[in-house]
């Protein structure tokens, strides 16, 4: 069942009609030998919005994200980003990793600038850009620190700054907050809402937390396993214009969380 609601016209910046699709996944299948990880999956990601991929473990949400990133080849089907077919990693997408994937031997500044370094941006230019994003994620003053000197939350801020620094249209986030503690995670979720509002980027967000998905998403795609398919698309309409501090007390928030749990509970052992 796909919920029939359409988005309010005065929503978040960049929100537009159904035609404005940043990432489009068409009939994707992925087999690992005899195992069908994804089967004939079709999904659209509206431009300028945050779409969560939510589902029980083993439902293939990370596999789907890596196919969109160009890190995995699908067995069948195709992915389009900005109207162009994906054949591999590209500068239109940046990835935020669950385990941060920082270079342990490089300081924060070089880590944040690393995406630009690989693109051949001159040292002074890329370091100026990196310093800017380091400040934006709240790590000013830590430019010369090394990853092992930072907390998990700060490391993920470095990973986020690195993805922002390459200024790609699409941000792919693979359970970015699952390796940080609960309080840091809440702060991250609030910051993410602000980020989606202020950056005109499309966010694809993999999570296994129902509450997190409802809190941060414009659109939630619920994936069910064996083989994976999109079971529902839920759009938490009324929540996006609310104060982030009150969302968790909102009846709509609580209803959607309950609704999703009702759908998922039979798939959780």
């Amino acid at each position: 069942m796909v919920m029939p609601q359409t988005r309010a016209a005065f929503g978040r910046a960049g929100a537009a009609g159904a035609a404005d699709i940043a990432v489009s996944v068409r009939n994707i299948s992925k087999n690992y030998g005899a195992v069908e990880a994804l089967k004939n999956l079709t999904l659209d990601f509206p431009r300028g919005q945050l779409t969560s991929l939510l589902g029980p473990s083993g439902c293939g949400k990370t596999t789907l994200l890596k196919i969109i990133a160009g890190l995995l080849d699908p067995t069948a089907g195709e992915v389009e980003v900005g109207g162009r077919a994906v054949t591999g990693p590209g500068p239109d997408r940046a990835f935020v990793f669950q385990d941060f994937a920082l270079l342990p031997w490089a300081n924060v500044l070089r880590n944040v600038a690393f995406g630009l370094e690989l693109r051949g941006v001159a040292k002074s230019e890329r370091e100026a850009i990196a310093a800017n994003y380091i400040a934006q994620v709240g790590l000013a003053g830590f430019e010369a620190s090394f990853p092992h000197e930072l907390s998990g939350g700060m490391r993920q801020r470095v990973g986020l700054a690195r993805a922002l620094a390459v200024d790609s249209e699409v941000l792919l986030m693979d359970e970015p907050f699952s390796a940080v503690d609960e309080q840091t995670r809440r702060k991250f979720q609030e910051d993410l809402l602000a980020l989606v509002a202020q950056e005109n980027k499309t966010f694809l967000f993999v999570t296994h937390s129902i509450e997190e998905a409802v809190y941060v998403s414009d659109q939630i795609a619920i994936l069910l396993p064996r083989p994976s398919r999109v079971s529902d698309i839920i759009r938490p309409e009324g929540l996006r214009d609310k104060d982030p501090a009150t969302i968790r007390r909102d009846p709509e928030y609580l209803d959607i969380v309950d609704e999703i749990w009702a759908k998922l509970r039979s798939y959780v052992e």
Binding site: K66, L71, G90, A94, F95, F97, D99, W105, L118, P147
Partner: protein
Amino acid sequence: MRLFGYRLPGMSSLIIWGLLWELVGRSGLSFFVPPLSEVIATLFEIIGSPAFQKALYETAYAFIAGVFFAVVIGIPTGILMGKNRLIDELLLPWVNIFLSAPLTALVPVLMVLFGFGMKSIIITTTLFAIWIIILNARAGVMQINRSLVDMAKSFGASPWDAFYKVYFWAALPEILGGVRIGVIRAVKGVIIGQLLISIVGFGALFELYSANFLMAHFWAVLVVLFALAFTISELLAYLERRVSYYAAKR
């Protein structure tokens, strides 16, 4: 270690073994074991002699050249094997065979192929050192965090960038471990080469002193050799500790 509440400095046990050596030497139990004090006196006597310095130069030259080739060929080969399944399948059996093969038995073959000169000694040294360097570089690359590889790819790293900006550094603790063991094996290689191929360097000194029953001289050269190998190995172990701070955080 602590003894009776006192902290003992590192390698204190050497004092005990040194004393034991001295006692055995003085007791005259064996002609082959002169007292340590005599060995050390001989050491200072011969260390300035032209024969010793020539031997040191020849040995150091063959050793450094052999280790150089082992490192420069071994590390990239190991990284390629860790990254490319086909190359790995092709080379791994050979690397494993040569790692455990009695390389000394191969030395006569090398002499036929490369002559009786320095070239054969250097190749022998390289052959002693290279296999463990390859295996460790390979192991280091294979344990690189999957997401670090994905990160390099997703940000558009070319194969060359990925190689020397990510894979090499991520595998560096293991690579250095391999180089350290390889260097110790190279010490064996260079001496065996000098003994078997052409009697030069420390090999020639060993040959000369043992043939003339100059046991204090013989032991003095051995002590020098041990000290050199130990120093190099400790230096590399220090480097290894310097980089291993991040090994656990990868």
